[in-house]
Amino acid sequence: MTRTAGAPPIVEVRGLRAWYGPAQILFDIDLTLERGSVVALMGRNGAGKSTTFKAIMGLLGRVEGTIRFEGNDVRGRPAWHMARAGLGYVPEDRRIFTELTVMENLAVGRQPRRDDAPFWTPERVFELFPNLGRMRDRRGGEMSGGEQQMLTVARTLMGNPRAILLDEPSEGVAPVIVEQMASMILDLKREGLSVLLSEQDPGFAGAVSDRACILDRGQIRFDGTMQSLIASPDIGHAYLGL
């Protein structure tokens, strides 16, 4: 793990406010993703998890506050700039290109090699997801939900990111895929990637994350280690319905 003393966190969000049209969705969000760590952003449907990711990624119209990536202010930058800077984004609804084959989907995500991040080729991605390697020429629309979920992650890895925003990877996929996703996240962490994960399933989040943040109605209600969240059941009860 390369954790240089004094280096800024890879993603740092301060006082983030965001709107969908006239409706304000996020209210002064603070979030920190340290290098090489996995942070789970938890909360019910509609709490603002996906909106937070989109705001960081430059996919929302109106955003205020500070967003730093590796110490640089990146608020207002277009999404492609974020991706090229090394921030990968895996959207919640997969959004794979259904008309394109697996190989073509990966090609869309391809970016040049980066010195300070793991370099991914289709072959390396297939080591992580052997299923995908067996269906290289299959079109995205003809794959199962779980396979599509893997393809979304794989496609983002092809951009050689240093950090990934991973939106609800366990949603709507079979338990066996959820397990694969969990081990994949731990693999990525071992490679030195940082992961900001949005998750509703506390079991999944607990298994892979170092820290947890709880969002409720657009505000952060808890920010601490996974252990401290488990130690305070009233928080889970209040905001996650546990």
Partner: protein, 638 residues
């Protein structure tokens, strides 16, 4: 008809299909990736023809008698138009990708106006006869019937370009990006692809294809200023029949249209049960009839997918400002002032003449706004109801000799019946498909009026439409048309008032609900299709009234009343005024009518001036003129 001449008809059809496909393919490609319906695409086709002519003249001097000159000129025209496309994308479209699609339409339409006058300025108003292509002059003999060699070459070029495009899209990284962006451009950007570069290059390629089509058309048709409108309407039809974003679909559609047209010519006049019907007349509308049938059977075109539809409503929904004593007083004051105008302006008789036009188009625009703004249904053929009202009343009154006042009932009724029929089909579609189906119906009405000499007077139209005696009497102390002016003001004023009431009524709320969320509206018990159908009928009725008033103010009517240009005028009025407020269409109609009236008579390049003004409005005030007024008022308050 012999089988040989039938074969030649089919071959001629195939040659036409090639240029049709090239134009449509560019439009489809641009729409697929950028989601912009490029109204200037026909103009790019026209510029291609002109550039091809200039480059051809130039190269003919350099390389006399060589076929290479023509093909090189075609290549230069293609590249030139591609560069123009890149420039347009960078300067204009890039700024409005996030604007509501109607503003994109308005912007590209403005570009079309500017390009048309640009061609007028650079090449003049005379038709420019294209070259004969060395080596491809003369005709082949097909079973003894002559067939132009150049057409034979065209038959090869269309499929060749389709093949090249297919290779580009499937075998190159750039092509993979285009296909990915066609499905989800935001995701492509989130994966690190520089959106703006991709869009510029796609726009350039699409424009280049239109330019190629224009340059290739040159040996068959001279370069002239009338090429743009037919080209854009053909391209739309091809893209919609084929399915938005699908190149093979566009090719199939181009083939289908061309073959149906060839078939119509080949059938000739057919006697059936005592009636004779001239099929060749159908060629004017064949493509629109094919489109209407295809859209009714396959709402997303032959090879399109539902997600190809446009996003629904404008970005911010309209919320009519509630009536306040102050606003009511303002409206009252305005109407009173207008009512007194014949006395005030008795010295300048033209004022009230011009204002009758303004009133008629204000009602026309208001009726279009009614389905477009609150209804979210973009009608591209709204002139049909205007024309049905005018022609319906004129035909009945001429046949019966009834007083013109009956026309005020018959006109709206004719508009209503038209909307009843066309609306039933149209509301089943949405977005650009709905727009194209309404365009098709508009063109069908136009071609019937244009060709049915016995009833509609054909291209000459109908003359001698006089208002009732007391309406055309000249009274002392007022402008000459004072009586008719006041009648028009009364009719238009009350119709606008009724439309406004309807929008505030539960029916109007249901119309808006159907626009904002069809699914939720259905689930609380609103029959969205029926509500939209009724809205169509209301709009058709109002447009019909506007049509009658207009017809009798002019004394004569001609088919251009129903032409697609008139429908587009209506769109421009609504968009210029802003779709987000009720005063918008009225202000837009007044601004547009007066501008056209004054600029059109004093200035050769009034189209370019209008276009430039529209571009300024779109780029600087995306809320339209009414929104601009509102924001100035808001700032004054703050």
């Amino acid at each position: 008809m012999t089988s040989a001449s039938l074969l030649v008809q089919i071959l001629t059809g195939l040659a036409g299909a090639s240029t049709l496909f090239l134009t449509g393919a560019g439009l489809s490609l641009i729409f697929g990736v950028t989601r912009v319906v490029n109204f200037a695409h026909g103009s790019l086709f026209m510029v291609g023809a002109y550039l091809g002519w200039t480059a051809g003249e130039w190269l003919r001097a350099l390389l006399p008698g060589s076929a290479a000159g023509f093909w090189l000129a075609t290549l230069l025209a293609t590249l030139g138009v591609a560069a123009l496309g890149a420039l347009l994308e960078t300067l204009i479209l890039r700024r409005i990708y996030r604007a509501p699609e109607l503003f994109q339409l308005l912007a590209t339409f403005a570009v079309a106006l500017v390009l048309r006058d640009g061609c007028l300025w650079l090449w003049g108003a005379e038709d420019l006869l294209g070259p004969r292509v060395p080596g491809l002059t003369g005709a082949l003999s097909v079973l003894g019937v002559p067939f132009p060699r150049y057409d034979a070459a065209l038959i090869v070029i269309g499929p060749a370009v389709l093949g090249l495009m297919h290779l580009l899209l499937t075998r190159t990284h750039f092509g993979v990006l285009i296909r990915a962006a066609t499905q989800d451009r935001e995701m492509v950007s989130a994966l690190g692809v520089i959106e703006s570069r991709l869009f510029t290059s796609v726009f350039a390629i699409g424009a280049g294809l239109a330019g190629l089509a224009g340059a290739l058309q040159l040996p068959r048709e001279p370069a002239n200023l009338g090429l743009d409108l037919p080209a854009i309407s053909d391209a739309f039809v091809v893209v919609v029949i084929g399915g938005l974003g699908s190149l093979p679909g566009a090719f199939l559609a181009a083939l289908l249209i061309s073959l149906v047209k060839a078939g119509c010519v080949a059938l000739g006049t057919v006697e059936l049960g005592g009636y004779s019907f001239a099929f060749p007349r159908l060629t004017l509308v064949a493509e629109f009839i094919v489109m209407a049938i295809v859209l009714v059977v396959r709402p997303y075109g032959l090879m399109g997918r539902p997600e190809g539809a446009l996003r629904g409503p404008a970005a911010s929904p309209i919320r009519p400002e509630p009536e306040t004593p102050r606003s009511r007083a303002l409206w009252g004051l305005a109407i009173a002032a207008l009512a007194l105008l014949p006395w005030i302006a008795s010295a300048s008789p033209y004022t009230t003449v011009a204002l009758v036009d303004v009133f008629c188009f204000a009602l026309f625009a208001m009726s279009l706004f009614f389905i477009m703004g609150p209804g979210g249904m973009h009608s591209f053929g709204h002139a049909a109801y205007f024309g049905l009202g005018a022609y319906g009343a004129a035909i009945v009154l001429k046949a019966t000799g009834w007083s013109m006042m009956w026309g005020l009932l018959i006109g709206p009724l004719a508009g209503f019946v038209g909307a009843l029929i066309f609306g039933w089909f149209s509301v089943r579609l949405s977005g650009v498909y709905l727009a194209m189906l309404t365009l098709a119906f508009g063109q069908i009405v136009w071609s019937i009026i244009y060709q049915w000499d016995a009833v509609t007077g054909g291209s000459n139209g109908l003359t001698g439409l006089w208002p009732a005696g007391w309406l055309s009497t000249r009274y002392p102390g007022v402008t000459p048309n004072a009586a008719y002016y006041l009648l028009t003001l009364a009719c238009v004023g009350s119709a606008v008032l009724v439309l406004r009431r309807v929008l505030d009524a539960p029916f109007g709320l249901a119309v808006r609900a159907g626009r904002d969320s069809p699914l939720r509206a259905e689930s609380i018990g609103i029959n969205v299709h029926r509500i939209q159908w009724m809205a169509f009928c209301v709009a058709g009725t109002a447009a019909g009234l506007a049509g009658v008033l207009y017809a009798f103010s002019k004394g004569s009517i001609a088919p251009d009343l129903v032409h697609v240009g008139r429908s587009i005028d209506g769109l421009v009025m609504v968009l210029l005024g802003g779709v987000e407020s009720l005063a918008g269409p009225l202000i837009g109609a007044a601004a547009f009518t007066l501008l056209q009236d004054s600029a059109g008579r004093s200035f050769d390049y009034w189209r370019a001036a209008t276009g430039a003004a529209m571009l300024v409005v779109v780029l600087a005030f995306p809320q339209g003129l009414a929104g601009l007024a509102r924001s100035i008022r808001g700032r004054a308050k703050a």
